[in-house]
């Protein structure tokens, strides 16, 4: 097929979708074509987004308050690096220090909130199927993501177009799609690869419990940045990452009467702050 002419180049471009039909699409249109498992009460027809983020890839989404976002490691090799920002005022963003300090807990799982620097709940972890235990946490809020310099040192490359992309490079690209720069990137959280901490403060990479998923409930309108790359403390000499299956469906933010609302006094006050902010800002519209 010639690409020497505009007509030839157009035909060549249009042929590519048909030729790729046998591959797993990265973004499903419509999302209701999703064929994977969904939680009870959710059907494919409810989905507003369905995507597979390849190993070494990234995605970003803007979601309305209340949206449920499920991230699934389908192979047990996945590691999901996550950042969340208030979509209407992205200088308000995930604060991992406040998240672990306010909740008196470094190992995140279902029931924990992702807190912003403004004393508000950005999201709630409403589901976690990983096999967490005190000795073997499966998610990490302390060690952040990988850098170009360190991935070059560890794997020989950290470029996003190379075999072992660095998380910060992927985040920089995802952030740029929303007008944000490296200046806007705080420490991130990672899901599906855990790190324990000994009494003496020594970290030990625990890794994955196998295929698992987490589901977030957006408590505010959010920009979500998601990178699929190796955990920065992953000791395996070969770069290890897996595909991440991402689906989203509508829902409501946590409200008085929901079990999560009053589960802890700190969480209740975070929900109170988020709820008041949605009302004054019009984000409940």
């Amino acid at each position: 097929m010639t690409t020497a002419t505009t007509a030839g180049a157009k035909a060549h471009a249009r042929e590519q979708e048909r030729a790729a039909a046998a591959e797993l699409p990265r973004v499903l249109h419509p999302a209701s074509a999703y064929a994977g498992d969904l939680p009870p009460g959710v059907s494919a027809g409810d989905l507003v987004w369905a995507e597979t983020v390849p190993p070494g890839g990234y995605t970003s989404l803007v979601v309305a308050a209340g949206t449920r976002l499920r991230v699934r490691d389908t192979t047990g090799n996945g590691c999901a690096h996550l950042l969340v920002f208030h979509a209407d005022q992205p200088t308000e963003r995930l604060n991992v220090a406040d998240t672990v300090k306010v909740q008196w807990q470094a190992f995140l799982t279902a029931g924990h909130l992702l807190l912003s620097d403004q004393g508000r709940a950005l999201a709630t972890i409403v589901e976690d199927t990983a096999d967490n235990s005190a000795a073997a946490p499966r998610h990490d809020a302390l060690f952040g993501t990988s850098t170009l310099a360190r991935n070059v040192e560890r794997y020989g490359s950290g470029d996003v177009f190379g075999p072992s992309p660095a998380g910060r490079e992927l985040f920089a690209l995802a952030a740029a799609k929303h007008g944000l720069t490296r200046r806007d990137l705080p420490p991130s959280v990672t899901f599906f690869e855990g790190v324990s901490v000994s009494d003496a403060g020594r970290p030990a990479f625990v890794g994955s419990s196998g295929p698992a998923s987490i589901t977030l409930a957006a408590e505010l309108p959010l920009i979500v940045l998601l990178a699929s790359t190796a955990h920065p403390l992953d000791p395996r000499p070969e770069f290890t990452a897996g595909p991440l299956d991402v689906v989203a469906w509508p829902g409501a933010p946590t409200a008085p009467g929901d079990p999560a609302w009053g589960a802890t006094p700190e969480g209740r006050r975070a929900y109170e702050n988020s709820t008041a902010h949605r009302r004054t800002s019009g984000a409940d519209r």
Binding site: V96, A97, K101, A149, G201, R202
Partner: protein, 222 residues
């Protein structure tokens, strides 16, 4: 509260390995609850002295010539085998480059996880009634604003002299301090850096022994 007189010889206060053959470039006592900022030249050493004992010193550091290269708690932890800071710890930026190195420490260990107190997070931790209280993020914003820095530039910071253990089940919290009057930590600039300090005004937890006190900051040149 015991406060060392500000007239005391600064070279008698900084750890001996820092004082040896050093000249004092700057010596100042930061009053309780106040911010402090300064550019520290490459090679110079900043010593922070816990004058009254158990006074958290919230600390951020930036490349003075490119403030986008700023302290990163995760990168600092990735580069060592403990979650605490002490002599030998390298404070790294978010691209993993070294900003400063801890060269002396008579306290023993310092916090990397707890971040700064803020009016907003105080409402979650202690109740909505604490919103009016002064907090470290206010100090960071005030100090940073004099150097063109704003909210986007604030990230998880260091808390010198603050004690935040992590239990094996992940439980963590600010508990009674292990510092004492006169203990000091010294950090050497690996390149020209801008330092932001908040002398923590928190009164709702033991990070300042429920009584914020002054800290002394001494810059020396070898």
């Amino acid at each position: 509260m015991t406060v060392a007189p500000a007239t005391a010889d600064p070279l008698a206060i900084v750890p001996p390995e820092v004082a040896a053959d050093a000249v004092v470039i700057h010596d100042e006592t930061v009053a309780a609850r106040n911010p402090w900022t300064r550019v520290i030249a490459a090679g110079d050493t900043l010593t922070m002295v816990d004058v009254g004992g158990n006074q958290a010193v919230d600390f951020l550091v930036y490349d003075a010539h490119d403030t986008e290269l700023r302290y990163s708690a995760p990168d600092t932890l990735q580069g060592q085998d403990t979650i605490y800071l002490t002599t030998g710890s390298v404070l790294r930026d978010a691209e993993h480059g070294p900003l400063m190195t801890v060269v002396a420490d008579t306290c023993g260990r310092h916090d990397t996880l707890g971040g700064a107190c803020s009016k907003e997070s105080n409402t979650l931790r202690y109740g909505h009634h604490t919103r009016a209280q002064h907090a470290c993020v206010e100090n960071f914003l005030l100090g940073g604003s004099r150097h063109g820095l704003g909210k986007r530039d604030l990230v998880s910071n260091i808390n010198w002299f603050m004690n935040v253990p992590v239990d094996p089940d992940g439980a963590l919290g600010i508990v009674d301090g292990i510092s004492a009057p006169g203990l000091a930590v010294s950090v050497r600039a690996e390149r020209d850096v801008l330092v932001l300090i908040s002398n923590c005004p928190q009164i709702n937890n033991p990070c300042n022994g429920f009584d914020p006190t002054p800290v002394r900051v001494i810059v020396t040149r070898a």
